[in-house]
């Protein structure tokens, strides 16, 4: 039996599959479909300090092999999360990564402080990349200094693993991974969604109430794989990859590109039973290829040229 465990800084995950933030409710919604303790981790829906109503509908629209969302981070806020969701998650023995969002640096710090004291929190994912809200978040994620500042401020106040979540809406994502590493991050995760939009041509109005939204799903996978590949070569800390993963093959593609673990988002909407299917597919692959530990696959992409190379006459 292959060893599926992977290491994210000080945290050991049972396997590399994490439920992506915002795509798995608070986790409890899916407890009937999947035994939460069998997941590498459950990443919570993005949490602010205070409850938020989010954007009015329409909040999603389907696009070719993808979807746009502009949920606007509707959520119950960190205090109700701790009071109402964490106990059940603890009971179900989920590994909980909390996705935190602030409008200011201080809010990130306060969230980190509060969550560091909570029982059953295993890591913090810093959402500095949500394209759907005007305040904060992505303004940190699109600036190297902003990224460095948030990560180091949070680093100072928590013993938990700190995982900044990077936006793909930048020229050079690897530089953000480096800034995160320098600031003391235990890992980076990427990608968040691509800023995008869709228009109803009959009404000439945006299909989303928020005008723009974030593109996720299989459509973005080739870009996400490239970004993971770039980041893994730029830093020594683990990279958590995501973007359009919908099968064991896709997970393996990210691992081989350089991801130590992966998250599945949109595909969980399509198939809430995806988790065991993907895990079985990975086990099968490891066996067929005689790989003892899933961690041995990470970054094993072979870019040496074996093509018949010749030059023009």
């Amino acid at each position: 039996m292959s060893d599926l465990s992977v290491q994210i800084g000080p945290l050991t995950l049972a396997n590399p599959l994490m439920a992506a933030s915002g795509c798995f409710g608070y986790g409890v919604e899916y407890a009937g479909a999947v035994d939460l303790s069998t997941l590498g981790a459950v990443v919570s829906k993005g949490l602010f300090l205070k409850p938020r109503e989010g954007h009015p509908p329409e909040r999603i629209v389907e696009t070719p092999s993808g979807m746009l969302n502009a949920i606007g981070l509707q959520g119950i806020g960190v205090h109700r999360y701790i009071a109402e969701k964490l106990p059940e998650l603890r009971e179900r023995r989920a590994t909980n990564v909390i996705n935190i969002c602030g409008s200011t640096l201080d809010e990130y710090v306060e969230l980190a402080r509060i969550l560091s004291d909570a029982d059953g929190v295993h890591a913090l994912e810093l959402n500095i990349s949500c394209p759907n809200i005007k305040e904060g978040g992505i303004t940190f994620g699109c600036s190297l200094n902003g990224t460095f500042d948030v990560v180091s401020a949070v680093r100072k106040v928590t013993h938990l693993p700190v995982i900044p979540k990077l936006t793909p809406n930048v020229t050079d994502v690897a530089s953000f991974a480096r800034a995160s590493e320098e600031a003391g991050a235990d890992a980076v995760s990427l990608v968040n969604t691509f800023l995008a939009m869709a228009i109803d041509v009959e009404t000439r109005r945006p299909k989303l109430s928020n005008v723009v939204g974030g593109l996720s799903g299989p459509a973005i996978r080739p870009i996400a794989v490239r970004m993971v590949y770039e980041c893994q070569r730029a830093v020594k800390i683990p990279v958590i990859g995501m973007g359009g993963i919908a099968s064991a093959r896709d997970v393996l593609e990210f691992l081989i590109a350089g991801a130590t673990a992966v998250q599945i988002g949109t595909a969980n909407f399509v198939d809430p039973f995806i988790w065991s299917k993907v895990l079985n597919g990975i086990r099968d692959y490891l066996q067929r290829h005689d790989v003892a530990r899933v961690a041995d696959l990470v970054g094993t992409i072979d870019t040496s040229s074996r093509e018949k190379q010749w030059t023009s006459s």
């Binding site: 919604e29 909040r59 389907e62 909407f269 198939d271």
Partner: protein, 273 residues
Amino acid sequence: MPVDVEARVIRNTRLSSDYNVIALAAPEIAGAVEPGQFVMVKPGRGTDPLLRRPFSVFEVLRREGRVEGLTLLSKRIGAVTGLLFDVVEGDVVSCLGPLGRPFNLVDPPAEAWMVAGGVGLAPFATLAESLVARGTKTTLFYGARSGAELFYLDWFESRGIRLVLSTEDGSRGERGRVTVPLERELRRAGSADLESADIKVFACGPEPMLEAVSQLAAKYGKRSEVSVERVMGCGMGGCYSCVIPVRDAGGGHHYVRSCISGPVFAGADLAWD
């Protein structure tokens, strides 16, 4: 919890150039579904279309006493309903369910008045069967664009459901909106010359119709339950796409996920603005 079934298409019956009924071999779901619950379906393979789409369970199919499958009543409006219109026997449709909160039934002597607008007929076949089984007197107010888009009338009649029909073009039943005969009958019921005035109104159709029905029910002092159709990404409470504003105690509103808190809501709870 819901199950996911790779359901074979047993048959595809076209009712018009836009409406069809697809019979799916999904006995696991059909055997568990309650009236008002829905399934999330995806025909074909590949990632375009990507997301499943929500459909009410229309009928539960039984053969020799055993549950064989279920049907969907589908109106063609876009990508997935277009594919569903064209499926043929032997094709496979992924079907996840049952999902959502069902209608709350009523027992005699209370009466049930079902109000359907267009494809909003879909949840009322199973509801009617459950009501009839309890002996609850049931009426179907059913409005459509034209008489050619009023389907399954015999089906309902043969089960003893009283039909009140309306069409926008007047080609069958009363001309105009279904809320006109509904209000007339509510008014009449209020005047107590009807056998029973304990009536619960169930509605499914376009949201403006649901709003009107809820308000009429409230006006005449009747309970109502409406089944709403918001765009749904997952049907399981995971994505927060399907939210609808409900009233809260303080007089304000907040968004709840219609896939898990609904799709059936008490008409009085929704914040129709």
